[in-house]
């Protein structure tokens, strides 16, 4: 019993050793196991990789249910005029028939024409928000990481303290910041007026409100960047710096030619993740400024939420918004990856 199972498990590995194209592999297999008949490509594929598939299948099934199904449903809704009123449902004795219909690209066209929520100005603000936030996350995160990578006293304590913003649930931080930024009773304005300075309309002025929410998000996002970059820094070999010093390289040259290239393997993915997170940053905007004053700090994603869940929810248009956001991020990710490759993973 034991011997056979070992043999069965061993065979696929043996067969795989000569790296050959599909066709020739089949040809080679056929004479060896002639009595079993020729193997189809599917069967051979399963035979080679069944173990991998068996291991990944729970994940694939869960992802399919949690991401695949909602995605397809969203894609479908985005080409219909579905709203909360016509989506159809049965609650207790009340039955509402589904009366929504296919409308093609109408939702997309209306959004791009600016008829549903000012798409273009909102996109501009979302891009500004993302670029400023990610640049600040990276810049400040890198500076702190370099600082904490040196041997200073209480380094462990600092490292723990720096993670606090990240460890707090975002809604807790959001409410603390709201309290700090409150126009009449906020801590910041109390401090300013005590110093004899004029109070600042932190969340009352469209431009200052934008600065305020960026400030909050930078505070929230730096720890993650710092942590990731600190890991990157620690993986750079000390010997490189020693060699550079022997060659008389200045600190800037060391930073430019050792630290940055050494970090790129870590930095590239975290900047990409950071960009996606920031682009879709929901709690900071929704809980700190509520998109206000007016709709000046509303991001694409918070607006899509409002479309779906405020008033009579417009599921069609909201799904179309979601698909547009996904499309924009995909394009961004592809361009980013290509740029990285073209630059040879260098900055």
């Amino acid at each position: 019993m034991r011997a056979t199972s070992t043999a069965a498990a061993g065979r696929p590995a043996d067969e795989e050793t000569p790296p050959s194209s599909g066709a020739s592999a089949v040809a080679m297999d056929a004479p060896v196991q002639g009595h079993r008949g020729p193997m189809g490509p599917l069967r051979r594929f399963l035979r080679h990789h069944w173990y991998a598939w068996a291991l990944t299948s729970p994940v694939i099934i869960v992802m399919g249910v949690l991401i695949g199904f909602p995605f397809l449903r969203g894609l479908y809704l985005s080409v219909t005029n579905a709203t909360e009123q016509n989506i159809g449902r049965t609650i207790g004795e009340n039955e509402i028939p589904a009366t929504y219909e296919f409308v093609g690209a109408a939702n997309y066209l209306e959004i791009l024409a600016g008829d549903i929520g000012n798409f273009w100005p909102r996109l501009v603000w979302t891009v500004v928000w993302t670029v400023v936030c990610v640049a600040a996350h990276f810049g400040i995160g890198l500076a702190l990481a370099i600082l904490l990578n040196r041997h200073i006293r209480l380094r462990g304590l600092y490292r723990v303290l720096m993670i606090v913003p990240w460890a707090l649930p975002p809604f807790v931080s959001a409410f603390i910041w709201r309290y700090l930024l409150n126009g009449q009773y906020g801590v910041f304005n109390a401090a300013l007026t005590n110093l004899g300075l004029p109070a600042v309309p932190w969340l009352n002025d469209p431009t200052i409100a934008k600065v305020s929410v960026i400030l909050v998000n930078v505070w929230l996002g730096v720890p993650f960047m710092m942590l990731a970059l600190l890991g990157g820094l620690q993986s750079i070999s000390r010997e490189l710096y020693e060699a550079a010093r022997v060659d008389g390289a200045s600190p800037w040259q060391q930073f430019r030619h050792i630290t940055l290239p050494g970090l790129s393997a870590v930095a590239a993915p975290v900047v990409l993740i950071g960009t996606i997170w920031t682009f879709n940053q929901f709690p900071v905007i929704f809980l700190v400024s509520g998109g206000g004053p007016g709709d000046s700090t509303e991001l694409l994603v918070t607006y899509a939420f409002r479309l779906a869940f405020e008033g009579i929810g417009d599921y069609g248009a909201s799904s179309a918004y979601g698909m547009l956001i996904l499309g924009l991020l995909l394009v961004m990710a592809v361009i980013y990856q290509r740029a990285l490759k073209r630059g040879g993973q260098a900055w």
Partner: protein, 412 residues
């Protein structure tokens, strides 16, 4: 050794879990319903809680009383009710939400059920808000409207013994108080609902439901909004905080930083706990506004998908009964929705309730259309934009009118 210990931990957890599950299943016929309450959790909910305990004892039904934030409940309830997950059996539904929920099929009809007891006793305004398409979908809990709440000491300091009666007088008093005292005259909550009295004073309204017309951007309404902006520009009113407008308004009035605010009976409990009124409740004055404010209030509604509608009916009947209303009004000064309760002991001579009598007389009815719950979202935003100068009053209200046309396509 370690393995054994882990094993026993796992076993005990499993045991505990089955025990819990067993508890729920075998709770020998105890019925349980969930009630979503949007009342102020600190000042109002305890009084309701007391009544709920009484109901539980009388009826052998456990009520899971959850206080939910008023601002979010409209959307929260729709999401929960539509998905069928975690929706409450009974909801405290604001008057303007009721027709919307009913039109979406989320509420159970209450005609000819025990929930609707002695309907003729209900005041007409609140009762009309429970009707949709010829059927009753809720039972009135309380009624209310906005009043001018004023700090007598501060007004006296500026030389006014009586509260302003017209909007012109309000402006005058507000500016004098700002000039003559340390306080500002008025703190206006930057929300559309609180703007309505200023529109009403000019004879304007959001909609004309008789003529089926959108009237929010007519010249009269624009003048109303302009009045508010002038009040702020002339120093009569504080420039309101847009993110925390309501809380800052309450805080400013409690602390004596503002001499007047517009707010309803639900706010009195909170205000009475503040330094200006704690030891001197008479310092708080209540007056009607020139042309009144919108009729507000809350209803009890039953979720159509409730697993135990009978229990929900019993609960609503109990909570909306004259006895319960009397107890709650006596304690909180909320305005009952039943005419008979106004004559009851402890209510007839209640100071807050009598002070609100002229306020309710001046209150203006609102159209109870399914879209009524959506009117304030665009108005809130436009009001904010006008306040920060992003758009002129006319532009702001034109945007509102456009939004209204979007969901009232057949209206003028």
């Amino acid at each position: 050794m370690r393995l054994v210990r882990t094993g026993s931990v796992v076993a005990s957890i499993t045991l505990a879990m089955t025990a819990c599950a067993g508890d729920n299943d075998t709770a020998d016929g105890d019925r349980e319903i969930t009630f979503w309450d949007t009342a102020d959790p600190e000042n109002e909910a305890p009084a309701f809680e007391e009544q709920i305990r009484e109901f539980e004892e009388e009826h052998d039904i456990i009520v899971n009383h959850q206080t939910v934030p008023f601002d979010e409940t409209q959307d929260m309830f729709k999401t929960a009710a539509e998905s069928g997950e975690d929706a409450p059996d009974v909801l405290r539904s604001e008057v303007a939400w009721t027709a919307e929920f009913a039109s979406l099929g989320l509420l159970a009809e209450l005609d000819d059920t025990p929930a609707l007891h002695n309907p003729d006793d209900f005041l007409e305004g609140p009762y009309s808000s429970t009707q949709y398409d010829g059927s009753t979908y809720a039972v009135p809990q309380v009624t209310d409207s906005l009043a001018l709440l004023y700090n007598r000491d501060l007004l006296a300091e500026a030389g006014y013994e009586d509260p302003p009666e017209t909007m012109a007088e309000l402006t005058e008093v507000a500016i004098s108080v700002s000039e003559d005292t340390d306080a500002t005259g008025l703190y206006l909550n930057p929300e559309g609902y609180f703007l309505l009295p200023f529109l009403y004073a000019h004879g304007a309204d959001l909609l004309d439901d008789q003529a089926e017309a959108v009237t929010v951007n007519e010249p009269a309404a624009v003048s109303g909004l302009e009045d508010v902006l002038d009040l702020i520009a002339d120093g009569g009113a504080v420039e309101p905080d847009l993110a925390e407008g309501y809380d800052n308004m309450q805080g400013a009035f409690r602390d004596g930083d503002a001499a007047m605010i517009l707010n309803g009976p639900w706010a009195i409990g909170d205000l009475m706990g503040g330094p200006q009124f704690e030891d001197d409740p008479d310092n708080l004055g209540v007056a009607a506004l020139e042309a009144g404010a919108p009729v507000g209030g809350h209803n009890y509604a039953a979720y159509a998908g409730s697993a135990d509608l009978d229990a929900a009916h019993e609960f609503i009947a109990f909570m909306a009964s004259a006895d319960t209303q009397q107890a709650i009004s006596e304690e909180l000064g909320l305005l009952p929705s039943r005419a008979s309760v106004y004559e009851a002991d402890g209510v007839a001579d209640h100071e807050i309730i009598s002070a609100f009598e002229p306020v309710m007389e001046a209150a203006q009815p609102r159209p109870w259309i399914p879209e009524a719950g959506q009117l304030f979202e665009p108005l809130d935003q436009a009001y904010e934009e006008a306040l920060i100068g992003e758009s002129t009053p006319q532009e702001a209200l034109d945007d509102v009118a456009e939004a209204y046309q979007g969901f009232l396509p057949d209206w003028e």
